[in-house]
Symmetry: D3
């Protein structure tokens, strides 16, 4: 990759239309993009119901569906290290070089700031409507969620019976 | 082991009369049984006050006290892996082969289901009375708990001054 | 070290005047002291905003500022092991030998008791005023906190812009 | 368990006739016994070809086959902690209480000695013939090994096609 | 992804012409492909000199350079779990679904076989010439290696001064 | 600490006269010093026979014995992270800020170089005579080693019967 390259860090549970809009906006600026999936060691929890593999496929297939140039986008998976002080360096080791980070989260901003990385806000989309927690709650409660995610994501969630999974997770809690 | 073999997964903090009844019922069907103790790396918390060794001894001594055939039962200890997606496989690596699992927990059921393992419900006992959380609360508050567990369990808890331990745990919290 | 040596376990986020008073009292008795910093793998959380290195420096500089005899004090750093049953042994492996422990925490007392270590209470200081959680809240809310910690600690927190860090932490939460 | 209780620590890859003889000797003295399987997180290596579950079953079935009193023997599984200084304490947390340890290994002896645990040598059997490394080499090279292990062990190794597994392990090495 | 999808597991230190040929052959069959990079937590060793991020970029850029259809290929990163018995399940959690695996390694074959996954050999290329260990030795000793890897890989290794890195690694060894 | 501050990274098994000379030289330049002990999670191996606590005490007592100014020296303990790419950042989180590093090791130099940290060589002492591996071999073989370490170190090694420990370690190998 050359020129400007942003890194967009999220957990993408699931990848939704807001993520897709932000991705399009960055590419529209002529930049390249790393989509870095965090907490990839986790799945089957309400916070992270989907496996790393399922989330990678959601993103890959959504990019194809949206006809975006795959040569300009790299999807990476970054397991948690549970050490904020070294998290940016950990992230860097799992990703190709980037020139700026994209986030609206205050702590993430702080960590990038302490590490000397430029931060840009995520491009404008309706965050009260398009956010992972809300979408997972809609799934849980049997409400409409499909219009909030790319069709490719809907297909994957259906193929793994993801709604049933989310309901099992919420009914109980075990240690594993 | 041959024929049908069930796996009964729990944390057994402590092993109580409900666990014992379920064990008897499975053996009465002619099946063999693996009693798999989970979260064995943990102790001295309200959720898991007892060490793996203490829990193993509780079960071993209760089985002898109840005159159950030890040749048909294997007790195993399974530390947490903190990865639901691979937990069933992790469990399998720590246990002899089994043909079905026994649980009432929705998430555990889901994980076994996704891994293709048959699940059976735990045999009928009074779960509102016989459950670990309730028994630990009775211990904590100085109420009657001894009639809810095998005598062998009472003896072990007394020998380690377990009630004092549970009270220390609840009064405070440190990181370790 | 010879004679009596106490171990004072804390997280020291930050090292405050109460910690300093307790330290002085132990030295005044003629004992030597190990100041063992716990949870050193953690930072940038509300519970543990400062890195191990920052906390070590706070203590080192406060001891110098207070003119205490450095030859009688050893500062050690002890990462969490997340296993209460072996925590005292883990602590011992990271520290020189000690003859007693200083703590007011019930669970810590219990763990030292089960391991056969004598426990003494922390010397009298005003714990409702001088405690880490309260001090971090004052920092967060923009209230007066500087008179509660040694001047050396104030200088370090200012040099790392620690108040901004605590505010970023509280505004958001990411997984790392 | 009451009275004297020994702990016999090994990796039992596989459980062989020497292990069985040592077990019999301890029971013959009237003692109880904990058979503690170490390195249970590992399998499919030349050092530890068998899973924890496979090793537990080998021991359980061998004890039954030899008509030994299961009420006097507890089999436990102890994953590695990779910290020698706290290993004895770690072992204790995974096992019921014991009064002495059985080992011929110099380092294990040293760790028990530093932890104040009495050590006894393993009862006399032909260690140049009966040792795990030699038996695994015989398996690898297609030589006679079955007379060196209990019949129950032979059956389990055959049922999992264990000889093929050992050969695959030795031909190659991957990281996992 | 639909239809047949192979998974090609390697450490890709570096991605070389043999890997590229194998990739082309699988795509030529009409299959889709997951390129799964293993041991991604490791770098700066002779076995794994490059970080995950560097290896991802080598593969991504080589695929573009070779004009291969990115929509049919997913690059994933899989950290070691150090547990062979559950490694295939771990791999699956980090990757989209696949229908067969591609490897020549005996142990990997065995693990896939025990997990019920079909294995195909890597398409014919000159493995005595094109293998990672040999290429790293050539780099170390100052011999010709550039013709053995895609041009894109050469560029990345030069941009990170990778040859100097490999020489530093080989001259010494520290613990980290 | 102010002005120039070096960090001297080693495993200090044991702290020997070469380490002491290097320490003196740095202080003589007017700089402050962090003595960072690595691999502190390890002990009872031939590479790292001593616990973190034992090594800290060796250094603390040697500095006192040599009459060095304790206010200018901070001893820190840094467990391994097994990730070279982030090791410098990990080190920084466990230590107060430093302005340069002191090492002769090629890989350590490389890691500091990639992280942008200035490296200085360790001050001249006879490294073929004064090095940890050689000293441990002398201990093992019953040869003269005491003149190679500070008297304070000799006293600690004798008090823990360290020579016997090293011999037990070398005679055998277990997994823990």
């Amino acid at each position: 990759m050359t020129n400007q390259c942003g890194i967009f860090v999220g957990r993408f549970n699931p990848f939704h239309n807001g993520h897709l809009q932000a991705t399009k906006q960055i590419l529209a600026q002529g930049d390249e993009l790393i989509v870095a999936i965090g907490s990839t060691q986790e799945s089957h929890t309400f916070q992270n119901p989907f496996t790393a593999g399922e989330r990678i496929l959601m993103i890959h297939n959504s990019l194809i569906e949206a006809n975006l140039p795959l040569s300009k986008i790299i999807i990476t998976s970054v397991p948690d290290i549970h050490r904020y002080s070294i998290w940016v360096k950990h992230l860097k080791s799992y990703c190709p070089p980037f020139t700026y980070a994209i986030t609206n989260n205050e702590l993430t901003k702080r960590l990038f700031f302490e590490a000397g990385v430029t931060v840009k806000p995520i491009g404008p989309f309706n965050r009260s409507e398009l956010n992972g927690t809300r979408i997972r709650k809609l799934m849980l409660e049997g409400n409409q969620w499909k219009e909030l995610v790319p069709l490719a994501v809907t297909k994957i969630i259906e193929s793994i019976d993801g709604i049933s999974r989310i309901r099992s997770i919420s009914d109980s809690k075990i240690k594993c």
